[in-house]
């Protein structure tokens, strides 16, 4: 109940903050690009390849933007409370520190769920506008990016418990970039000294962490992989998120709530 109260408050705080305005603006840019591309190339079969390329780029951009927003929102959710001092009045209540952190985390996840649904809606809209069939099941388009955002949010939350928020954001951006490259389909061509550690550290999670892989997942590929594969891949992602959250809770429990 208390965790949910904080989560809802965190979510509504985002809706009243600059985060939502910046997100909306950045989200609108690729959408405008996708719509322009569809309107230009629609009805010209010889340019179908260009349109598909643009649509794919649009969806990848939105997906990658979501990763950055997840990291930024998680870092901001904690650092803004610490900086303004609002955390003191809240933590004076009979509330454990991990409960506060969990409330903040779930507030970020609510934001990212809304973002993911908006992204799915935009994808469906663009494909329908282009007159293309949309093969990928909706639950894949929600669960995979959502779990990925949960991972990035937990990493950012862990880092911001002991780093400055700007440093946190920079580190999260670097991690996202590196992992995106490492988890891309091209990773199969990497040298063994990259592939083996990658396989050990990110088993099955390449599907979760890749920014573009889930978009190319068709109904046929889903049939090829049993549901247990997806469940395991998503569970691995959630496991990373849980470990990072627990570490964040440990650091947050030991630190001072007062800046300076």
């Amino acid at each position: 109940m208390k965790i949910w109260t904080i989560a809802i408050n965190t979510f509504t705080s985002f809706l009243h903050s600059k985060v939502i305005a910046v997100t909306g603006l950045l989200f609108a840019l690729p959408v405008a690009m996708g719509i322009s591309s569809v309107l230009i190339f629609r009805g010209k079969p010889e340019l179908m390849g260009s349109m598909l390329h643009d649509l794919s780029a649009t969806l990848q951009f939105m997906s990658a933007l979501g990763s950055l927003i997840a990291g930024f929102a998680a870092a901001d959710a904690i650092s803004a409370e610490m900086k303004s001092g609002t955390v003191l009045a809240v933590m004076a209540r009979p509330l454990e520190r991990w409960q506060f952190l969990a409330g903040k985390y779930f507030g970020v996840l609510l934001l990212m769920l809304a973002y993911t649904i908006a992204m799915l809606g935009t994808g469906v809209f663009l494909y329908r506008l282009a007159g293309l069939p949309f093969h990928t099941p909706w639950w894949v388009l929600i669960s995979y990016p959502f779990v990925r955002y949960a991972v990035w949010a937990s990493i950012a939350m862990l880092l911001v418990t002991f780093l400055h928020p700007f440093v946190t954001m920079a580190v999260v951006a670097v991690i996202i970039s590196v992992v995106t490259v490492l988890a891309s389909p091209a990773a199969a061509n990497y040298s063994a000294w990259i592939r083996v550690p990658l396989h050990v550290t990110l088993p099955l999670t390449t599907n979760v962490l890749s920014e573009d892989r889930f978009f190319s997942m068709t109904q046929a590929s889903l049939h090829r992989y049993p549901w247990a594969f997806h469940a395991t891949a998503l569970a691995y992602g959630l496991n990373y998120a849980l470990v990072c959250f627990l570490l964040a809770a440990l650091v947050f429990h030991r630190r001072s709530l007062v800046r300076g």
């Binding site: 109940m1 208390k2 109260t5 904080i6 408050n9 509504t12 705080s13 809706l15 009243h16 303004s84 001092g85 609002t86 003191l88 009045a89 809240v90 933590m91 004076a92 209540r93 009979p94 509330l95 454990e96 030991r254 001072s256 709530l257 007062v258 300076g260």
Partner: protein
Amino acid sequence: MTPAIEFVGVSKTYQRRFGQPPVAALSDISFEVARGEVCGFLGPNGAGKTTSMNILMGFVHVDGGESRVLGCVPGDLRAKAQIGFLPENFAFYRHLDATDLLRFHLRLSDRRVEDADALIAELLAKVKLDGYKGLKIGKYSRGMVQRVGIAQALLGKPDLLVLDEPTSGLDPAGRKEVRELLLALKAEGKTVFLSSHILSEIENVCDRVIVINHGRVIRAGLLPEMLGEPDRVEILIDRLPEALAQAVRQLGASVDHQLENIRIVVNSAHKRRVAEMLWSGGSDVLSLTPMRSSLEEIFLKLVGGPEAE
């Protein structure tokens, strides 16, 4: 019965970055506040008051010593459920109005009430904020934010109130209301631990006073004991010839010409002699009042005197 607040040899040092020397905020401080007492926590800026309050709320961990609040270690949920806290220069969620904020805090508290709206309306009326429904806290004045802060501190019907500068940002009328509120809480038997730079307020409401400076307790005790017995008298007269003025000054008296009368302050040992001199010299003695040192005088002596070093 265990004390409401207990500090035993508590030390806290803040580490600083980039090779700067650490800052000792508290050095081996010990004090107690009994249940039902109103205790003033005094000290100049940077003395360690807010650090002490943060420690007893469980926001900051100590480096050494022990502290207990309501018989529990700081941060214990059982203790926090019985504490109302007003932080110094606190901030609240700017997108909420006062009702939403109090509802948010009520959900986080362990207090269960049948009619939350009625309780919130009652608290807002108590702090004179009942006419601002729908106005976001981000648009509040500093004094209004402080009033919301006081309302949220009272929300859980606490046994112990920890108030860091409760009258900060309030106008004289607001300060008077807070003083009356503190007196009402005292009458209810609540324990109040407050810091304030307005020493006349402390003097009016507190049973006990603790003075700290440079992270050390330099004086602690019951307020009447600290103020002591009256040691001077204030004499108001209508006129004072110059020769008589020189005579009373020779006895160590201070003479202050006020708008409607003349005020003479003299040591109690000379009060009879001065009064007789004034009567016999033709001055009309309007009043003669025993005086003792104010808390402000004692405080300034303590933080500026050898005990402060």
